[in-house]
Amino acid sequence: MNKNQNLDNNYSKRQGDENMEMTKTDFQALDVNFILVHGRAISSQEVLEDVVPVNWSDDVLNGKYEKKTIIKSKKEEDK
């Protein structure tokens, strides 16, 4: 099985040297080839029968808090 190599990158950064300051990793993209090679295409809704759409408020959907969310995300990255 062709494992997702990006996961290994995340782990190597996370384990690191115990004396080094642990840093957050970037969001490593999924290796899509892994999905296409090992998965299968479907066109049936059966797999989604248990899915309930997440109910966001109109303000969230309209982008009212978008700027605040971006600022909050940047603060999280800087930690």
Binding site: N4, V32, G39, Q45, V47, V54, S57, E66, E76
Partner: protein
């Protein structure tokens, strides 16, 4: 524009020839690719809510091998929904951003994203499915 780790809301998602309406996704890749002659540049996992569901219901759904639980504290969305949910980690939606009506509403915490990658990493191949009906 969106990036890996973002939470997006897509209007009018399709599975087969049916419109399943508005759904939320976690962006896993924005790399360009092609499948069956169709171009894509967005690959996502679908998010589902457990809002209003019983504990028994939640326990049952989270027992499925392709469903990974998440907490609202693992999202970066101001005034988010505040409810528990799960990610359909075994189902991958392919999109072409140019033809997709979507909006970025926030992102997941890096710890959740790493957890999701681990979850995917450990999945059985039989539980990996992808949908190209939105291309």
């Amino acid at each position: 524009m969106c990036k890996v780790g973002d939470i997006i809301v897509v209007e009018e998602c399709k599975v087969g020839n049916k419109d399943i309406g508005r759904h939320s996704f976690i962006v896993l890749s924005t790399d360009k690719g092609e499948i069956e002659g169709l171009s894509f540049d967005l690959v996502c996992n679908l998010m589902s809510s457990l809002e209003g569901k019983s504990e028994e219901y939640a326990k049952k759904k989270l027992s499925y091998p392709e469903n990974m639980p998440y907490s609202p504290s693992e999202e970066n969305i101001i005034n988010g929904h505040g409810k528990e949910g799960f990610i359909k980690a075994g189902v991958y939606f392919m999109f072409n951003r140019e033809n997709t009506n979507y909006r970025v509403i926030g992102n997941v915490q890096i710890e959740l994203y790493i957890k999701l990658m681990e979850f995917i990493h450990n999945m059985d191949e039989d539980d990996i499915r992808y949908i190209i009906d939105n291309l």
